[in-house]
């Protein structure tokens, strides 16, 4: 009687790629809280405080006006005068983490 019924196993969700187009998940908004002087992603019963770099990444890579994540990486590479491969690795890791935490969707 104690056997748990088996799961319908979906494939693991792939990491965010440069060709993805991302938007904020339903119920998620980018907000500045003046009292705490912090930018944050506000979502269902939760929030995530963004540091300056994370804020720059979200602004560059997320939203209907962004062609795709790769275009955002191009922009950040110029803005921060950094090696594109390094920027891309950091950005994709951060965006995948934000997606896994439920703040972003494809």
């Amino acid at each position: 009687m104690n056997a748990v019924t088996p799961a319908i196993a979906p494939d693991p969700a792939p990491a965010i790629a440069e060709t993805d187009r991302l938007r904020l998940a339903p119920g998620v908004m980018l907000r500045n809280d003046r009292r705490r002087d912090q930018w944050m992603l506000m979502g269902p019963e939760r929030l995530l405080v963004l540091d300056d770099m994370a804020l720059a990444v979200v602004r560059a890579c997320v939203g209907p006006e962004v062609a795709d994540v790769g275009a955002g990486i191009d922009r950040l590479t110029v803005e921060y005068d950094a090696a594109r491969a390094e920027v891309a690795a950091d950005v994709l890791e951060l965006l995948t983490d934000l997606r896994n935490k439920g703040y972003l969707v494809r």
Binding site: V4, P26, G27, R35, M40, P44, V91, L94
Partner: protein, 372 residues
């Protein structure tokens, strides 16, 4: 490049950091009668509820104290005809609105009105993955089907959906089915919520407590699935108290993250705090939320670490779990001043296992439905 979870509150500060959210229990009325309801056993009647104007003032005060979110809860908040008006007021005050609901009184037109008022997120409780078991637990025929219909409407309208799946002895084997159902509904998040034994649930503990075998099978199933669920649905899962070795950080620490206001306007550090004898509670008629948050006697009593006895005071985890749950310490150790006996370092920990094993071995489903 990093993101950090907020650490707004400083321990034992004279001026505490603001709360993250205010939970507003608009009413204790509810069409469901779940035997594990977290409302107090002595429910507030409709005649005692705050009126619309007072709730609006309290929403303004929630924004003033620095809260970022409001949780409209109950009971069933949708029994209040002024819910749309209150959500709109919260939005005007700059607050993010969550609706914690059974969903059985909702329909797409009302959802659309709530969304237009600024509602962002709907959390719907499920009693089981199947209608028969769910409707039996809720004591409400047709409830499960209605919930699924409303859940789909929530997603279709572009609102965030959380499924709150409450697990106990009679449905714990279907944890995978509940997760599959949440995925199928398009939920962004699922809370795998093992019953917490407060209020009505404490009275019905012997009819709800899962066995150790059930618990281990459920825990293994959930943990096995977490990797494949990452990126598809956010999973909030905590090992149920009575089988844990370390206590949960209840409410994120007493009076650190949340304020709770009950239907008659009493301001509480947590929804079960009234079970603790000797605590002095103020109401929204006495002082502002800012004043109560700052130095209300019930808030100051267990905030931070100043109140902690051993084994908490010398424990490395004291600023992680904040001593666990005060109401549980009262219920299981006999005093809210003690360490949460869920902690294996508590001298009362063995008694938790004893109570658990005795209740888990009780047979049958002789629970008392919640009533009003």
């Amino acid at each position: 490049m990093s993101c950090a979870l907020p650490a707004f509150a400083a321990a034992d500060a004279a001026e505490p950091a603001p709360p993250f959210a205010v939970l507003m229990e608009l009413t204790h009325r509810c069409p469901l009668r779940c035997p594990y309801c977290s409302n107090p056993v002595a429910l507030d009647p409709a005649s005692a509820e705050l009126d619309t104007a007072t709730w609006k003032r309290v929403l303004d005060e929630a924004a003033d104290v620095g809260a970022l979110q409001v949780h409209f809860s109950g009971g069933e908040p949708c029994v209040r005809k002024d819910l749309e008006e209150l959500v709109a007021h919260a939005t005007d005050a700059g607050l993010y609105s969550n609706l914690i609901t059974s969903a059985v009184l909702l329909d797409p037109p009302r959802l659309a009105r709530l969304q237009a008022a600024g509602l962002q997120h709907v959390q719907i409780s499920l009693q089981d993955s199947e209608a028969a078991g769910a409707d039996r637990v809720g004591g409400f025929r047709g409830g499960h089907a209605k919930k699924l219909e409303v859940a789909r409407a929530v997603v279709a309208q572009g609102l965030a959906l959380t499924i709150n799946a409450v697990l106990h002895r009679h449905n714990i084997e279907r944890v995978n089915d509940v997760i599959d159902l949440a995925l199928d509904l398009g939920a962004g998040r699922i809370e795998i919520a093992n019953v917490q034994y407060y209020g009505w649930a404490l009275a019905n503990r012997a009819a709800l407590m899962p066995s150790r075998e059930q618990l281990l099978a459920m825990d293994a199933a959930v943990r096995a699935r977490l990797p494949e669920l990452a990126g598809r649905i956010v999973v909030d899962y905590v090992v149920p108290d009575y089988y844990a070795r370390r206590p949960k950080s209840c409410m994120g620490g007493w009076a650190r993250r949340f304020m709770n206001i009950n239907p008659r306007g009493r301001v509480l550090p947590c929804h079960a705090a009234e079970t603790i004898p000797g605590l002095e509670f103020e109401t929204v008629h006495d002082r502002s939320l800012s004043a109560i948050w700052r130095d209300g006697p019930a808030f100051v009593r267990y905030r931070g670490t100043h109140w902690m006895p051993e084994p908490c005071q010398s424990c490395d985890h004291k600023e992680e779990d904040w001593g666990g749950c005060r109401c549980q310490a009262l219920a299981l150790a006999g005093s809210a001043d003690d360490a949460d006996p869920v902690c294996e370092r508590s001298p009362f920990h063995a008694e938790v296992a004893e109570v658990r094993d005795r209740d888990a071995a009780a047979l049958g489903t002789d629970w008392t439905y919640r009533g009003l």
